[in-house]
Amino acid sequence: MTNTNMARAQLASGESTIIEFNDVNKWYGDFHVLKNINFSIKKGERIVVCGPSGSGKSTMIRCINRLEEHQKGSILVDGIEMNNNLKNIEAIRKDVGMVFQHFNLFPHLTILENLTLAPIWVRKTPKKEADEMAMHYLERVKIGNQALKYPGQLSGGQQQRVAIARGLCMQPRIMLFDEPTSALDPEMIKEVLDTMIQLAEEGMTMVCVTHEMGFAKTVADRVVFMDAGEIVEANEPHAFFDNPQHDRTQNFLSQILNH
């Protein structure tokens, strides 16, 4: 395990920056939701973002694939600047997979069709090839036998694993997770986290908003704590949990860890 950790650290330090936030600001009307976000993520890094609700963490990761628009500053993803240029947005969205809190599978399509939709219509992959790839990823998240069912026939945990497989089918360079386990029953959280851990071990760049501190401890390269639209603290999990610098972080950790 230490070997992989070291290899991972090397990978992270040696590789180039893949996501870069420079003085990013965003407002919802008058509400200043992101304040001067400066942050960069290296290729292969696993980032866990945590913080109280309303702190802007979801908004921040949704800026990465422009589900939310920022109004000031710049965001570079894979060297491409996020602006109103539709070509840039499309190019980035092809390379960034996203998993949502409420799965957002397409209920009118079968599991297999959910997975092949983007490869066929965005990447122009031939249907047969897309089907094979989809089956491969479904096997990987251990639900290959459900391929012809509809999302409504699956449990929450299964749906979320399908959503992860759907993201992977585009063979993204970055995966974003927006509270992937918050809508799940406790007994289903583990199956989703296991899938994510597996993915992390394969070297995927991951940005994950979650309250699963166990996941943060085992998987993250860095943990980012946000409050009131700002990044308060970002550190390696070990230092972050054992020796938080800010009182706000200490306060937050004591609330979520001691119950």
Binding site: N65, L67, E90, R93, K94, V96, G97, M98, F100, H102, F103, N104, L105, F106, P107, H108, L117, A118, W121, V122, Y150, P151, G152, Q153, R166, M170
Partner: protein, 366 residues
């Protein structure tokens, strides 16, 4: 050692809760009020059904050449049977009506081909939507391939009703979708145009639009640029129906959770792809009852063309009622018209229910 949990086996329900006796008990005799209502309904049926059967079937006259051949106490269906061809085809020349029949058989065959597995559904749809109308028009209008030309003013009867209804439905549906999408779009100009169009059309009665189409437009158009009245009326009906359709579809679009749009966006689908592949299939399915409602409304609204001098099914029956040989057969005529409209609308309603069942994927909204 742990105690092993064995679930109890499922048992069949008691015999008193299933079967016809249970059904009658539950639905007709469940409470004193229910019993009274059941008895009352039976009494009303006893009062109305026997006389109706007597008038409509037992004492009815089925053949004859004038009202005088009919009995006084029964229905004069002879009026319908002798004039049947006219009710079907209007004033279309009787030796040419095979052309309408041929077109009808052709479309039934084409639509029937959807059930054959090896047929490519996309090509078949293109054939039906793009090629068939051309063939049908050539058949109806003639003047080509040695077919006798038949002016559109002679088109009538059920033929005209079905023609107006079908074209209105087929054309207003995509237009309604575009208007609904336009009304929800972020582009201010497209949005305003759609809102103005929808609100204007919906604020005007269909009769007004018919008059505009048949009387006003020719006045405004320069000489020589006058196009067919049937076409003008068709455009009027289509635009009218599209405005209603747009609002029904917009309701469906609004019911689709934001997450669906976001998931489609996050995958890199473009606007049109995410609409056609993700949003519309769900939205349209949700509003099938409303869409069919609009279709049925449109089908029955085609009767208003008689105001601008066209003889659809209802128009031609009313015309026939004025025939001195058949005075006093108004009830039979209207009953026949009502039955035909009912059959078509009931058919559409059942068909829509079948589609809804077929598209049911057991999903819950999330």
């Amino acid at each position: 050692m742990a105690i092993i949990f064995n679930p109890s086996p499922s048992l069949p329900p008691p015999s008193t809760s299933v079967g016809p006796v249970a059904w009658i008990r539950q639905n007709l005799l469940s409470s004193p009020l229910n019993i009274i209502l059941t008895l009352f309904s039976l009494y009303i049926m006893y009062l109305t059904i026997p006389p109706l059967v007597e008038w409509g079937i037992i004492n009815a006259t089925w053949t004859g050449s004038s009202k005088a051949d009919c009995t006084a106490s029964g229905a004069c269906w002879a009026f319908i049977t002798t004039r049947f061809d006219q009710f079907m085809y209007g004033l279309y020349p009787s030796e040419e009506t095979w052309r309408i029949n041929l077109a009808a058989i052709l479309i039934v065959l084409l639509v029937g081909m959807f059930s054959i597995k090896i047929v490519h559904k996309l090509y078949l749809s293109i054939t039906i939507i793009l090629i068939y109308p051309v063939i049908a028009y050539c058949l109806f209008a003639g003047g080509i391939f040695g077919l006798e030309p038949v002016e559109t003013s002679r088109w009538g009867g059920l033929f005209l009703t079905v023609l107006l209804g079908t074209i209105g439905i087929v054309a207003s549906f995509p237009l309604g979708i575009l208007l609904a999408l336009g009304r929800r779009s972020n582009m201010p100009i497209a949005k305003s145009i759609c809102i103005i169009f929808i609100e204007t059309i919906r604020a005007v009665p269909l009769i007004t639009i018919m008059f505009m189409a048949s009387v006003m437009i020719p006045l405004f158009l320069p000489d020589g640029l006058n196009f067919n009245k049937l076409l003008r009326v068709l455009i009027g009906i289509t635009l009218f129906s599209a405005a209603y359709m747009a609002e029904v579809i917009r309701g469906g679009l609004q019911a689709i959770p934001k997450g669906q749009y976001e998931a489609a966006d996050a995958m890199g689908l473009t606007y049109w792809k995410s609409m056609t592949l993700v949003v519309l299939p769900q939205a349209l399915k949700l509003v099938i009852p409303g869409i069919v409602n609009t279709f049925i409304g449109l089908f029955k609204d085609t009767t208003l063309v008689y105001i601008v001098g066209m003889f659809d099914l209802l128009g031609i029956i009313q015309l026939a009622n004025h025939d001195t040989k058949w005075l006093g057969t108004t009830i039979e005529g209207y009953a026949f018209a009502a039955f035909i409209y009912w059959a078509f609308c009931f058919g559409m309603s059942r068909y829509s229910m079948a589609i809804e069942r077929k598209l049911e994927t057991g999903h819950k909204r999330n």
